[in-house]
């Protein structure tokens, strides 16, 4: 066990855990940040996507010890009030079915848009291909990423 001071969504969280514990489970079990989801545990589905220093990263295979000094963002940090352009776009396009994968989808999209304000269809595809949606909302995810890009410019 070791004590970690984690910088998440602009706040500092303390967690007394084994350093090998994946960030996903620290968020979910220790810090009550359950928006980040478990889907596969082997970096294949994207449900657990968070931002580490601005990069979309799979938290299910990321030992907490490696992010002790990193800037971490989770879905809860997009916006408390769902006003982040990505959240707004996701709502307007009415993307979710079950909704379970959508935190990961949005975090992937938000990381893409923060670096690339005008993503091409190919750019979007390259970013989103790692996130599975079992309900098959891919068409709406595409539309929502496009809409979010427009919103971010305003």
């Amino acid at each position: 066990m070791a004590l970690f001071n984690l910088k998440i969504n602009g706040k500092t969280y303390k967690a007394d855990v084994d350093g090998n514990t994946p960030l996903l489970w620290v968020l979910r079990d220790h810090l009550d940040l359950v928006g980040t989801k478990y889907g596969c545990g082997i970096a294949m589905c994207g449900a657990c996507t968070v931002h580490i220093n601005g990069e979309a990263t799979r938290s299910c295979v990321l030992p907490v010890s490696t992010v002790a000094n990193a800037t971490i963002a989770t879905v809860e940090g997009l916006s408390e009030t769902a006003e982040h352009p990505v959240q707004q776009a996701w709502d307007e396009v009415d993307v979710p079915q079950c909704g379970y994968c959508q935190a990961g989808q949005m975090m992937t999209a938000a990381a893409l848009l923060s670096k690339n304000a005008n993503p091409s269809d190919k750019d979007i595809e390259d970013a989103m291909v790692g996130n599975i949606c079992r309900c098959g909302t891919y068409h709406r995810i595409h539309d929502a990423v496009k809409l979010a890009a427009v919103k971010m410019k305003k």
Partner: protein, 709 residues
Amino acid sequence: MSNIQSRRDFLKSTATAGGGLVLGFSWFTTEAFKPKVLANTAADVIDFNAYLAISPSGIVTIFSPNPEIGQGIKTAFPIVVAEELDADWEKVKVEQSPLDTKKFERQLTGGSGAIRHSWERLRKAGATARAMLVEAAAKKWSVPVSECTTSKGFVMHSSGKKLSYGELATAAAQITPPKDVKLKATKDFTLIGTSVKGIDNKDILRGKRLFGIDYKVEGMLQATIQRPPAFGLKLKSFDATEAKKMPGITDVVSFGNKVAIVGKTTWEVMQARKAVKIQWEKDKDLESSTDHDRIFKEMLNSTTPTVQRKDGDVEAAFKNAYKVIEAEYQCPFLPHSPMEPMNFFAHFKGDSIEMAGPSQTPQAAQGQIAKMFNLAPEKVTIELTRMGGGFGRRLNTDYAVEAAELSSIIKAPVKVTWSREDDMTGGIYRPAVRYRFKASIDKAGNMTGYMLHGASINAGNSTRQDNFPAGAVENLLIQSNDYKSPITTGPWRAPITNFLAYAEQAFLDEVAMAGGKDPIQFRLELLDKAQQRPVGKITYEPNRFREVTKLVAEKAGWNKKKKGVFQGFSVYFSHASYVAQIAEMAVVKGKPVLKKVYAAVDCGIVINESSARNQVFGAVVDGLGHAMYGNITFKEGAPQQDNFNKYRLIRYNEVPEIEAHFVNNGVDPTGLGEPALPPTGGAIANAIFKSTGKRLYNQPFSEQGATLG
């Protein structure tokens, strides 16, 4: 027409077949539905009936009884109530009801049946409250009810006076609910048929605690369970000495062939599980996929299959045929793979038990758990969480029951979470099936005989004997065999038809082409026959079948496409809805590439356009993805795929363009969670055949050389 069941009878009988449901509109006859003023939390809330309450501040709370799995029921049900109530949707609050068998019937998500079952009672719930509010206003103003109208949460009088529902709620609650209440004409709907955003969108998008896997109470323990690694094995012994010493672990116990590791956090119990040494022993046959291939052949050669339906004399038809066409189609077992793995919370308290989690069928879970502990059902309370998908998996109660059992053993509140590997290897798969088809045609290409033999592993009757083309063929034989295997199976989105539709629709194309007929024309002729001179009983309405067929042909420009575009057609009736699809392929660098899928859907009245489209798109993507890739194979009882690195799900870059059209014929709404899936595989297989000349007889297609994207 005489032997086509009337719509009403059909609905009644399917509802009853679905599990002894009592139809009828009974909610305001029971005690629970007398209006009463509840001294609730912040503001007083006045209950009008099981579905709705109005607070004096004007907030209308609509209770949604059925579990939300992503099909949009938690938005759709309230839309129907709000429509008849004439509520202001912006001021409607929706709450998920816990399991309450006194207030609600059929708190179930399955069979695409929720809307069908509740359509009328939801409308009456809204309309009755509206009538009470109008009467209260009329009394206050001393005017006749007929001079009052309602809109967006207000009662208005022709003089211009108006009162909000909130202002009227207390007085309205004193009025006896009318027994017969007039419902709106469908043309007067203002909310139904529009696009309403998912009621939980904002919470989902902010990452709120909504799903079963997020559930938490103070002092709750976490558990993971090791189940037998192969079907046919049972627990012999285990040694948890090391595991018990690991950090955070509180207990390791075994029950029912399982070993449960209990501790403080999910990660710790997952780690400790690896340290438990377990011995398994053989209990039943340890089957491999090669055994299944052999078993299928044996069943198809059986001389004593169960005859499901027999019309005319199929053997004579085959003997006198101009041509006989034969083919066999096979599909593998499939896991459901909802994104949220199985999980359930249980807190056993001796004389009662509290449960919470994602269940499509909480009432069944309640019954089984009550029985296990010899408790009255009402002593088992179940909170319904949002479900991260289910696709039929959560119609099984195993994961809820085991959580209850574990809690009773360790005497503590506990949540059991399945890993993806547990979820994928734990069984309750879509059953594997092989179908043999045989058909005869005359010189003109008309189908004179049709035989279907279903051979299945743990599927029961793998046919739908009264479905199309039954009724449209003079000589028909539908029969089945089933093999009992230790591999557990269960319903998978659009049970049976998720594969039967593919096999049948591909085979019908083979028959049409053997007779030189256009595939759509061939089906339309059969449907004409079923309409005009039906043979035996039929469960479908040929007219509606025809309508979706024609609509999709028109939208996709059937037979009108330029060179290089290859179209495949498929149409299916399931869960009381009709869906026709056309898939379009192009050949790029010698390979067929799926470009587009058109869908024409008759699900009666569309309640929420946005959600309906989402369901149709999702079902097409699901049907496509699993037809392309889905496969679980076995070696000595052990599933060979255990996570998404070995089991492929369709991804963002692999979906074709989709275009969906709704017939919207004003007929009472039917289901939409499943019906758009069954036709997809057939449409694609038929398009692949057109573009390559290769007929795909087995799923998954990818193992026969098909690629996507």
